[in-house]
Symmetry: C2
Subunit: 362 residues, 2 copies
């Protein structure tokens, strides 16, 4: 078992990473008599709910669960309210603990419920998608969507423990695994060249869900994100680097409509666009850009624009991004592999040219 | 103008108290170009919305407003969502400021919206009921109700400034003014004997809305609450004293159905029950209990149980109170005027006897 500590101003908490941890009662910070509400969805519940429930009942906890409908479209105030109703029906008070068992959607909604129920109850994350394991379960951002915007309503709220059981990835659709790898590759590209090299060596093992390599990989990603978050808890500066490929990716997701490309797929193509732009600006070498492309391809990820999208479609979406300040694009670009920076006021013609180079022409 | 500072671990903020402050642009921590969303309701808006809007527009702010339906029954997630929709329609970002203009309901909902919108935006309180001015606008508790429980969903979130314009009380229904005085008297009784004496001298002036006396009174109450909150920001200990009369009062509110007696009225009768119980336990003198009763009566507040409620009706409600731990009542009682304490495990027969003594028998 690997363990990464997240050090925050006010407190610290551990991320445990291993195979079979769902059944390991030593990683749960719970004791006999504790009241637990597991928040999950039917897809995840069928695989893992009884395993977690059994472990917690062996500890002596009272365990109830509430299942939200599966999907990003249910990341809403209405789903949030289902959690509150379940807690109130069981007469759970401020000493209750909420456990999020699922992907990023479940983690975000359950975390916001934990922040809000009676103004804050204990929260444990059990992320079961690769994306949630390397990204959304670290950093304390919780949220639900509003019909006028994604993740517009939420809180900064930290779990007391994150439990990552890498065996759960065995039931995750392959496409979701690969999408998670896009965020993994992103960490290497922006902040950690040795990790990027490690990925070049082990990407096939990761795609094949080699348990030991997965654990090493996830621990490294959590450490990188935890370090960034510790430096920038409420997201004023450094965290921006984590958005490599996300402004381009966001344009893709918005243009295609959410759910056509997975977030990670859009981030993969977007990261490639950022790399090509960095190359055109004279920062990244052509060879480095090619290495990134190759790594993404080996993870079965797209590196070019969707064929239903024109280069001209990007900028209008990109200019509506949250990161645009005073009408100026703020993009995350690469000085080299392992070194990202925030570029303000990049020439829009250059941006368009980079997108063109990442567009399928045949 | 009087000013009370609330000192918290992470930051401090001022409470300004004066007549005509709504139009005093020096008390608003805003500058030209700031984007402001005023949250209010039609009752308050008809009296004060244009005054606040004009002042903020003179500062150079962009000012929009959203009006929630008036009433405790609209203190819900749905009202909260109306605020988010208004903010998103106007494309307001993280640099927006939410201003709560109204009583405790508006303050609680708007405060929770400020805590949650994009995970936290600036928040200014302009309380316009006496209860909100002396109680709910200080302390950082925000909340909405759930159909299964009051104030079950919320956040601890501090405003950057509280602006109390005592002239707003001139349009407040007298019954609401008096209900606010119940909380005022409570502060004297639990923690501040000199203030209790001051109230005995000036209660008639307060009932008559004497501006100078109101300001002195509100400042003192805010100071008392701010001190308690500073010692106990997230409500683990000392804050409990603020609940004098509230467990009895809660039983009255629940039994009659919300809206029949005002909260302050129930607290007044409840405080009297706590005083009589304290006397029966040998702590408070009969003379002190009589002084409390007299003061409440001069503020036109009830000191006995509603005539549709039997003494036996209280305990079942009281045992369901949030403050009950392991089946034991926790009541706030008085050692003397100005000195309250937490009584655990008070004999239920004595509690019943005290309620009987506060029941109209004629
Ligand atoms: N809070 C943050 O910092 C942060 C960061 C990145 C993304 N997010 C959020 O995360 C969400 C995306 O998360 P996601 O990619 O995990 O999507 P998701 O939660 O929708 O999960 C994807 C699908 O996989 C299923 N699933 C989950 N675990 C499984 C398993 N072990 N076996 C089989 N099926 C499984 C889910 O039920 C779902 O159908 C978005 O809402 C995004 O906004 C949050
Ligand atoms: N956050 C806290 O710490 C805290 C503490 C105590 C109470 N509360 C909450 O406060 C709420 C009660 O607050 P309240 O007593 O102010 O009730 P309220 O907000 O419902 O106001 C009472 C009535 O007076 C009207 N009104 C307000 N100001 C007016 C004015 N100047 N002129 C004319 N009419 C006016 C309102 O529209 C309403 O109809 C409850 O929801 C309670 O839970 C919160
Ligand atoms: Zn992402
Ligand atoms: Zn009260």
């Amino acid at each position: 078992m690997l363990c990464v500590n997240v050090e925050l101003k006010e407190r610290r908490y551990p991320i445990h990473i291993g195979a079979g941890l769902l059944s390991d009662n030593s990683v749960y910070p719970l004791k006999s008599g504790d009241k637990v509400m597991i928040v999950t969805n039917p897809t995840v519940a069928q695989h893992y709910l009884s395993q977690v429930t059994d472990t917690l009942e062996k500890i002596g906890c009272t365990v109830k669960n509430v299942q939200l409908p599966d999907g990003e479209q249910y990341k809403t105030l209405d789903s949030l309210n289902l959690i509150f109703t379940a807690l109130l029906r069981e007469n759970y008070g401020r000493d209750a603990t909420i456990v999020a068992l699922g992907g990023g959607v479940i983690g975000d909604v359950a975390g916001y419920a934990a922040a809000s129920y009676q103004r804050g109850v204990r929260f444990i994350q059990i992320p079961t998608t690769l994306l949630a394991q390397v990204d959304s379960s670290v950093g304390g951002k919780t949220a639900v969507n509003h019909e006028l915007g994604k993740n517009m309503i939420g809180a900064f709220y930290q779990p007391c423990t994150v439990i990552i059981d890498t065996l759960t990835l065995n039931t995750l659709p392959k496409r979701e695994v690969n999408a998670g790898l896009a965020e993994v590759i992103k960490y290497g590209a922006i902040l950690d060249y040795p990790f990027f090299e490690w990925l070049e060596q082990h990407i096939d093992a990761l795609v094949a869900l080699d348990q030991e390599k997965l654990q090493q990989c996830i621990a490294r990603c959590c450490q990188i994100k935890a370090d960034v978050v510790a430096r920038d808890e409420t997201e004023k500066g450094d965290r921006a680097l984590l958005n490599l490929g996300h402004t381009f990716g966001h344009a893709i997701e918005t243009h295609l409509g959410y759910g056509n490309w997975l977030h990670g797929e859009a981030v993969a193509a977007g990261s490639m666009m950022a790399a090509v732009l960095s190359e055109m600006l004279g920062d990244l070498s052509a060879q480095e850009a090619a290495r990134l492309e190759k790594l993404l391809v080996r993870a079965n990820l797209p590196t070019v624009s969707p064929d239903t999208m024109q280069p001209e479609d990007y900028l209008p979406h990109m200019m509506r991004d949250k990161k645009v300040l005073a009408g100026k694009l703020r993009l995350i670009l690469l000085k080299s592999l392992g070194q990202a920076y925030v570029a303000t006021d990049t020439d829009q013609d250059k941006v368009l040219a980079a997108i063109r180079r990442c567009t399928q022409t045949d």
